[in-house]
Amino acid sequence: MKWLNTKEGGIFLILIALSAVLAVRSPVFLTMENMIDMLKTNVVLAMMAIGMTLVIVIGGIDVSVGAMTALVSVLIGKWMVAFGYDLSVVLLMSVAGGAVLGAINGWLISKIRVHAIVVTLGTLSIYSGIAMYVTGGIWINNLPQAFIDFGRQNLFGIPMSGGTLAIPIQVLFLVLVAAATGYMLKHLRIGRMIYAVGGNPLSAERAGIRQDRVQLFVYTYMGFLSGLAAFVHTSIYRQVDPSAFTGFELQVIAAVVLGGANILGGSGSVTGTLLGVALLAVISNGLTLTHVPSFWHKVIIGLFIVTAVSFDIIQRKRRERRLAKIDVLQ
């Protein structure tokens, strides 16, 4: 059980312990319906968090993710109302639109060298402002029936006692994104470059790696995933609310940090982030099921983040101290 000693293993154990407590406290928690429900509500968060993992691994931050998703949702919503639904057109439009928005962030950060938080705070305001302007703040409701039908599909049904259990089609998108991104980080050159730039930008540059290109790629990819998330989100809720993602970036970043990524860059993984999302999902689902007033949810999630990160830092320091001792002994 070597993997239990890793960061991901630790998060997994916490997740299991928490789930066990909830299973005892609430009879609903462990039902398949509740699980599927949790999965469906968090698919979008998970996809965006996977993109954010890359951003955080290179030591950056992107607070415009929610605004990007909102703007792309508005874009495809308006398009479908005007021109009708065609899967390939709408899907392509979502990812291309998102990638352009992300590339604008990436270009400002890597070429003009403005700090990531300043750039993305600015574009957060710009992107969400445009989304509000285009819609006048009003929801887009009359989406084409074909699109609504698409969003209602299930991948496959699992026969269960008391009906069949259906996996919603949106889960497929998450699986593909997670697999592709995980593979990229592990096996492609760009993955190595991402970790190197995040771990030590100067060493990476000396090794002939262009930091600006890696940054541009990562922020564009974040935009690409935000666009895809917009498509998936719209297919779940069948309407577009231009302000649905206000403040969502905090949840995305929280999931990545809970998943064990170092906010200073250099470490983080898709598996960890997925566990972080699961942890957030289980906490808020559990609080709802045990009837904790919703105002407390944010406080408790905040406490979790602060505790988890502090614990991680204390452990790291302890490890370093042990190392120092070995050095002296030699």
């Binding site: 096996h187 970790y195 030590n200 540059e205 000396r206 002939g208």
Partner: protein, 210 residues
């Protein structure tokens, strides 16, 4: 010289061909390698394993037709350099940050040897590492030079220079002030030039700001 800063004046020739790298990426492609003075801040990614540090400058050679990194090739590369340079402990998956100074330096050198450069520029190679590792690194540099690699060592440690170099160029405030062939040169000769030397009018070949 490695494309980090552009030269104020002078030119760089490699095999008689004028080169002018404007980025480190270009310098690497031209066959230059630069082992920086500070291995922790400029040389290594401390949070990554020895293997990943060693493979960083040669990722394009470890890929297959689909441009995917072949783990096995990477592993072989790492193992071969760990044994060639006698990196201890010989654990390919160990984090670079956990190694001693001398072994960290060996990883940095190994990383660049993996790119099989024509010219190796090495800045203060034995700064802050123990005597044993120092001798090993000197021996290694000597072997490399004998195998035909051009090595430019930048050092402020005179005994090291005298024991390791064939040709010595003395620089003072960014200007070349003296050139020696290392036969019977003493520390005093070098210090005289370094402290009192007037700029040499004709810049020797290879001289430029790094």
């Amino acid at each position: 010289m490695f494309g980090i800063e552009t030269a104020d004046e002078g030119e760089i020739r490699l095999h008689g061909r004028k080169i002018n790298p404007r980025s480190t990426t270009e310098a690497v492609r031209l066959g230059l390698a630069y082992v920086p003075e500070s291995r922790q801040t400029q040389g290594l990614v401390l949070t990554q394993s020895i293997t990943r540090n060693l493979s960083l400058s040669v990722l394009n050679r470890l890929t297959n037709k689909l441009r995917l990194i072949v783990r096995k090739k990477e592993r072989q590369l790492a193992e071969s350099f760990i044994s060639k340079l006698d990196i201890r402990p010989a654990l390919a998956d160990m984090q670079a940050g956990q190694l001693s100074g001398g072994n960290q330096q060996k990883v940095v050198i190994g990383k660049w040897l993996a790119s099989s450069p024509k010219v190796l520029i090495i800045d203060e190679p034995t700064n802050g590492i123990d005597i044993g590792a120092k001798t090993e690194i000197h021996k290694l540099l000597r072997q490399l030079a004998e195998s035909g690699m051009a090595i430019i060592m930048i050092s402020s440690e005179l005994p090291e220079i005298l024991s390791a170099c064939d040709r010595i160029l003395v620089m003072r405030r960014g200007r070349m002030v003296g050139e020696f062939v290392n036969d019977g040169v003493t520390q005093v000769d070098i210090m005289n030039k370094a402290l009192l030397g007037a700029p040499v009018s004709s810049l020797p070949e290879g001289g430029a700001s790094a």
